[in-house]
């Protein structure tokens, strides 16, 4: 199966989405990412029991923080799919890229010390 997904996405592999931290998500936004999403296993199917559920809670926390800062919370998302769903992976990637294109570039611009 050869599936293509948008080249705008940089994939960072982690052993389990439970490893993803609030700071990873915030730092990505801080460094100018237009959006970040976490692609975890299906709920109930985490090898480490609840890594993906924890990841979702962290995503929710970051969404709340972005809302507080007046930034669209949709720039951070959590998706669940199984490792056998390659087509779904590509679909999610396109969906996320589409959503971010609609939102436009991040309002978090790099600034330099005066």
């Amino acid at each position: 199966m050869r599936l293509s997904y948008p080249a705008d996405i940089k994939v960072i592999q982690v052993p389990c989405t439970g490893r993803v931290d609030i700071l990873h998500l915030l730092n990505a936004i801080e460094d100018g990412a237009d959006g970040v999403y976490v692609a975890g296993c299906l709920e109930g199917e985490c090898h480490y029991i609840e890594g993906n559920l924890k990841a979702r809670r962290k995503v929710e926390y970051v969404k709340k923080t972005l809302t507080e800062l007046g930034i669209e919370p949709e720039r951070v998302e959590m998706y669940n799919l199984s490792s056998a769903q390659g087509a779904r992976f590509a679909e999610i990637a396109s969906e996320m890229v589409g959503k971010i294109r609609e939102l436009g570039p991040t309002p978090v611009k790099s600034t330099h010390a005066a």
């Binding site: 700071l23 915030l26 801080e30 923080t65 507080e68 978090v108 600034t111 005066a114």
Partner: protein
């Protein structure tokens, strides 16, 4: 432990709106345990603030430092070399921390990044509840080990008020009427008579009502023992 809640990002950002270089100072004591002012929370606040300032197009340099405890001059002195490097400092310790810092470094501006709320503990992950009001004359042994000073909305000492209803306090149905719990506990133990005697008026001079308090241990004042 002392429990606190972080102030809103909006409030914190407003405090330092004119500053270009700040320090966020955490504390490894109570506020680390109640997940509000330890290393993790300090880093999250720093990143959130940088995002806010980048969005606004104004640069800010943020350093972080987590002190062993901000309520001990020994540790507060540990930042003497760097404290002058900043326009302002946000402390994520309880209200004691920024005061110890302000007293030791009178030329620096310290902002409280948290609202210090009460003495209590976690009843479940993520939920903290008040247990003690620091009245200075502990008497919980008279009430089945439960404190009506801190936990009854009216700090009643002689049984529940008329607002106690099905175990809930009249101020809010989600607040347990601690007098209901105390009475039930005594009933279950067959010791309801423990509560019969009328308790005299509490002397509040040992509480905040007597003014700021101080605790002196002569043997320690004289030196280490």
């Amino acid at each position: 432990m002392i429990v606190a809640d972080r102030k809103s990002l909006e409030e914190i950002l407003t405090m330092v709106k004119d500053n270009k270089k700040i320090l966020i100072a955490g504390c490894k004591g109570c506020v680390t345990v109640c997940n509000v002012g330890g290393l993790k929370e300090v880093e999250i606040l720093a990143s959130s603030m940088k995002i806010a300032r980048k969005k606004q197009g104004t640069h800010i340099d943020i350093d972080i430092n987590v002190l062993e405890r901000q309520c001990d001059n020994e540790y507060v002195a540990g930042v003497s070399d760097i404290i002058g490097n900043y326009d302002a400092v946000i402390s994520l310790a309880c209200g004691v921390g920024p005061q110890f810092l302000s007293e030791m470094y009178p030329d620096q501006t310290f902002y409280p990044g948290v609202n210090t709320t009460f003495f209590g503990g976690a009843t479940q992950h993520g939920v903290w509840e008040e247990r003690c009001a620091g009245c200075g004359t502990c008497a919980i042994n008279n009430f089945g080990g439960l404190c009506p000073i801190a936990r009854c909305a009216k700090s009643l000492m002689n049984g529940p008020c008329g607002g106690s209803s099905n175990g809930a306090c009249e101020i809010n149905k989600d607040t347990v009427c601690i007098w209901d719990v105390i009475v039930r506990k005594k009933m279950d133990a067959g010791k309801l008579e423990d509560l019969i005697g009328v308790r005299g008026i509490k002397n509040w001079r040992t509480a905040r009502d007597g003014g700021p308090r101080r605790s002196i241990r002569e043997e320690l004042v004289q030196g280490n023992i």
